[in-house]
């Protein structure tokens, strides 16, 4: 870096005459330019992320009309409600179940695609990524239509096979299953793409060495593929946990939290309290409950990404 600073802005003739003093000046100017270039970004992050985050904490300490400071009353009120604990329970179930199946399907499909001849892989990969490309709100609408009580295409198929129809969205437990199913459908292709990229980066020699030692496919997977992919699996799972835990679209569109509030997630519940019922402080308090869980996941992701950055470069 020092050598670029030396030549920067200096012509060949006065280069020799440059003193440390002017060099410092140039250095300062260079960092000033860099800072100015970052200024719009800093402005966006400070004004639209950091400030709202703190404002949210302040807001959650007010009463409904935002006229009086009531301390932690919003939080204690929430914690005294059964519905709130159901939200905690449902969000956890939703995130854990959905992420587990997304990662599993992603891993399986990535292996299947990787088994194909190289020229066919592109086509399959392109086809399997389609759920991820369609805006989630719109594909959820399509799923809703397939779950529709009277016209359900699934129930038609089940009935024609001799089974009875399933109350996809009107029974609380089936509704929980349905929202998780849609999330798995939407998110699994993301895992597929990440794992496929990771599989390609595993050196072929490792597999050849294992083949000479007589390892079968399962042993290769356990002793080579998984350890080599451990980091990327950790990153994608944690990242997906954050996104899935904070999911809004699917539940809002398909059930709006019903039946009997049993599919509410943090996001939809705080939307109901804060925007629909107009109690912004209570809504802010609800969404703030997400923060500790997300923060822990974020710290682990950051560690993983740094480690991976070192591994690669």
């Amino acid at each position: 870096m020092a050598d670029t600073v030396q030549t920067w802005g200096a012509t060949a003739t006065d280069k020799a005459a440059a003193k440390p003093n002017t060099m410092q000046l140039l250095l300062r100017r260079r960092s000033t330019v860099a800072f100015l270039m970052c200024l719009p970004l800093i402005a966006i992050i400070v004004c639209l992320v950091i400030y709202p985050a703190f404002y949210s904490i302040y807001l959650s300490l007010l009463n409904k009309a935002q006229t009086r400071f009531i301390g932690l009353a919003n939080f204690t009120y929430l914690m005294s409600r059964d519905t709130f604990w159901m939200v905690v329970y449902q969000s956890t179930i939703f995130a854990l179940a959905a992420v587990f199946f997304k990662a599993l399907i992603g891993l399986i499909t990535a292996h299947l695609v990787n088994n194909l001849p190289a020229k066919g892989q592109r086509k399959w990969r392109g086809m399997l990524l389609v759920p991820w490309v369609i805006p989630l709100a719109l594909s959820t609408l399509g799923w809703w239509w397939m779950f529709d009580p009277t016209n359900s295409a699934f129930n038609y198929t089940l009935r024609s096979l001799g089974f009875s129809g399933v109350p996809w969205l009107s029974d609380p437990y089936w509704a929980r299953f349905s929202v998780i199913l849609v999330n798995v459908w939407y998110g699994a292709p993301f895992f597929l793409i990440m794992y496929l990229a990771a599989l390609k980066s595993v050196p072929e020699q490792l597999y050849e060495a294992a083949a000479i030692d007589g390892a079968n496919a399962w042993q290769k997977f356990i002793h080579i593929t998984l350890p080599m992919m451990r980091n990327i699996i950790a990153i994608t799972v944690l990242f997906s946990l954050i996104v899935t835990f904070a999911n809004f679209d699917i539940v809002q569109i398909m059930t709006a939290g019903g039946p009997r509030n049993m599919t509410h997630m943090f996001a939809t519940y705080s939307f109901l309290l804060g925007i629909r019922s107009g109690d912004l402080p209570l809504g802010a308090a609800t969404s703030l409950f997400m923060f500790p869980i997300l923060a822990i996941a974020a710290i682990f992701i950051l560690r993983g990404v740094r480690k991976r950055g070192r591994e690669i470069g």
């Binding site: 920067w8 719009p40 970004l41 807001l59 399997l128 989630l136 459908w185 679209d249 809002q252 925007i275």
Partner: protein, 299 residues
């Protein structure tokens, strides 16, 4: 495979080779079989949406017909009703305006910042880079309530310009993050050469970095486009009248009139609304995937 056949005794080499080839062929067939099953799972909803959009209302009312096929003749009526009798085109126009503005803002802000952070280390730059990554992990559902209050206080509630204001929080951090990676992968010799020729920072960025990192920039642009086209939480919370609404929320909420679900028209709307991202994906799949995978690996 060759290493194993070579290790086998010379007399058995042929048969071992043949059985391995047969095993491999069976592995391939099983792969295809399961992939087809997964493909059916992944493509069933879009397929059903397409089928529904081309059906007549009378066919949909008949519960006895097979819903997975069009049996009563395909029709474009649903699209005609959608475009003539609803606010769909207004939603479309609003979404285009918002998305174009957001993509432009995102690209300007994140190219400048990524250039500074990736190339011109300065005091606090590594902290800032980490901060950007953490901002990317903040979900929109954590911030929409305070942002509602902020948007309201500056008088932008129920205006799509509020979307232009808040969407960059979803796009800028990730785009900056992946662009830092792309800029860092450009060889140092290039900017040294430019510096010797007396180029300014801006000239260096415009003449060297942007052209060389063009694939990364396209990937980031596609990301910004997809995110702002598909955003749902913010318009759901901040917009309520039809003339300001965007496609995602408009299709889901205001196309549903009273208790009658015009499913054919709804699916036609969902298809048209999802078409731009799908078309871009169809043509620029490799950039799309590069942007997706570089988030976790670069930087």
């Amino acid at each position: 495979m060759t290493s194993i056949t070579a290790a086998a005794p010379a007399g058995k080499r042929l048969t071992v080779g043949a059985s391995l080839r047969r095993n491999r062929r069976w592995a391939l067939y099983t792969s295809y079989f399961f992939l087809i099953l997964f493909a059916i799972f992944f493509l069933l909803p879009p397929y059903y949406m397409i089928i529904t959009a081309f059906k007549t209302d009378s066919e949909m009312a008949k519960l006895a017909t097979n819903p997975w096929l069009i049996t009563g003749g395909a029709t474009l009526d649903q699209f005609r009703i959608l475009l003539r009798d609803t606010d769909f085109l207004i939603f479309f126009k609003n979404t285009v305006i918002v998305t174009v503005c957001v993509v432009v803002i995102t690209m300007v802000v994140s190219i400048l910042a990524a250039f500074a952070l990736g190339r011109m280390r300065f005091w606090g730059s590594s902290i800032l880079a980490t901060g950007i990554f953490l901002t990317y992990l903040v979900p929109d559902t954590l911030l929409f309530i305070p942002l509602f209050q902020i948007v309201k206080s500056i008088g932008l509630l129920n205006s799509y310009w509020a979307m232009v204001l808040v969407y960059p929080t979803l796009t800028v951090p990730f785009c900056t993050w992946i662009m830092i990676g792309y800029f860092q992968s450009i060889p140092k010799e290039l900017d040294e050469a430019a510096l010797i020729d007396g180029a300014s920072h801006m000239q260096m960025l415009l003449r060297i970095f942007i052209p060389v990192a063009l694939p990364g920039i396209i990937a980031a642009m596609i990301f910004a486009f997809t995110v702002s086209w598909a955003a749902f939480v913010y318009p759901m919370a901040f917009l309520y009248s039809a003339d300001q609404q965007v496609l995602t929320v408009g299709t889901v909420t205001s196309l549903i009139r009273a208790d009658v679900y015009k499913w054919g028209m709804l699916m036609a709307g969902a298809l048209l609304a999802a078409a731009p991202p799908l078309v871009i994906y169809a043509f620029l799949m490799d950039y799309y995937i590069a942007g997706l995978t570089s988030g976790a690996t670069k930087g």
